[in-house]
Amino acid sequence: MHVHLDGTTPIYIQIAEWLQHEIIADRLQADQKVYSQYQLAELFNINPATAGKGLTILLEEQLLYKKRGLGMFVTMDAKERILLKRRNEILTKMAQEIVLEAKRLLVSDEELLVLIRKTQEGLE
Amino acid sequence: MIVTTIFFFTSILLVIAIFQILSKLGKKTKRIWTPKRIMIGITSYIILGLTAFIYISFFSDSKIPVLSSSDIKQVEKKFDQIPKYDQEFNSSYLTSDYKKKTWEINFDGDTLPVVINNDDNNLSLNIRQRYNDNIESGKALITYYQFPFIVNGVDLSDEVPLPDVYVAQNQLFIESFSKQQVNYNRLKATIGFLDFNRGAERYEMDNSYSNFIVIDIPRGTEIEDSQGLIYYLE
């Protein structure tokens, strides 16, 4: 496990994203116990407090819930929520960048739509 | 005091110098001299000292007794009367157990010239003359008495050199041998400096009347005492 320290994204966010990735990839099932902050610290060679911060982000987004004294568990609908969030947050941001880039490269809207449809067909 | 001060400061410098050398040496030999080995070294040194003590106190044979001040006082009490007896010409104090040596000499005529050679004033003798009935004429008996001669609590009466007594040209010569040097090692496991300053605990005895020469001559013979040193005794 490696955390890139070049300062682009804070470590605790990287941890949060890694955990979300684990949930999407079904390696962390619903109602399954999640790594404790100490395990994460050991795994990523980081300070447990930073790992803890990553966990609290997921807690605030109701992707995890806390059982007193037992630790953090994945909520039932965690996976769906992550997929939904990723779709409208991250996808929209990417879309924005594509449009901006197209405008800079003086690509008209039609050409852009044609390009997207061609890439979709290419993937099938 | 000067000697002690010089000694005092030289010993300081010496100890400091030795310390510097030791610390230099120590650095090099650090590996060899581990604390354990040093400890063994020190304990064996102490044991060595202990055995030396045992050896000295039990096996060393040359034991010279040392008189305490009370003994000396007793001895001295015994010999206080000598000057008194001497004035009264009474020779009872010259008992035989102090007799060291007797010489028998012959001479002609009825006067015996006596020459005491004391030019290097080594002789502190008290010379006495006494008439003795059972000596034939022409003979004389010279006896040397040595009383205890106590210095620093040690009785050196055996060490006092006897005078040289001989007859030449019908004269009796009494001379002393050359000065004799006696060395003693006094061992005292105390602080000598303290004892010294506390005044000699040991009562120094007055040794002026420590030895006598008595010349026994038959009645009718005379002693020619040119130097006037010989006194008369009963």
Partner: protein
Amino acid sequence: MQSLTNISLKTIVKKQVKWEAKLNISALSSLVIVQIIFGVLTSSSGSASSGHGHGNLDVRFSIYSLDTFLIVSAIWAFIVALLFTTKAYRVDDLSVISSRTSSTIANIFVMIMYSFIAVIIMISTYYLQVLGILLVEKKSFVTEGLFISPSTFILCFSSICLFGALGLLFGTSFKGPVVIKIFLSTFMVFSFIYIFMTPNIIPLMMLPNLMISVLCLLVATLCFCLTIWIANKSEVSRK
């Protein structure tokens, strides 16, 4: 929160004494060497000699007593105590649990222990010297008090302790390079003793041994307390 360990000063001092006594043993070995050297030096004439001439008999007594060895041990104790307070030794204490108080008290105990051993070494050297003389010249031995009396033992111990205490006191009060520290304080102490003490040291000598010992120990304890007080105030520079 991990429960804090509370360790009493006594246990720490005990540990420090245990280790320091072992690690600074080289001081004792240097004492042995110094004593041997002085023993050999004074073996010819003894620590003092008195001569008496009487008539044709000249008596020379060379007196072999503990004087030299006591002076040497006192100076040694003073220097060792000074060395204890130099930075090289002090800094070693900082690597283990210690405070100025604990280190100073530990130094004091080690100094007292070394003074006691020093007296024993002193006596051993004296007897070895006597043995040496005995083997060399057979005759003329006047043995008066070969067995060292307890009062003399205590006197030696307390005077060495006193000089150790002076060393610690001077060492703690002067901060500075080692060599200068040694020369400065040695010179000061001994000239102080010489100038002030010698004239009225005579009446002091009149006192019996035990009285002097008590006096020495009193002054030593005073120096020890002063040393502890100064040490408590002083800062430690690690550089």
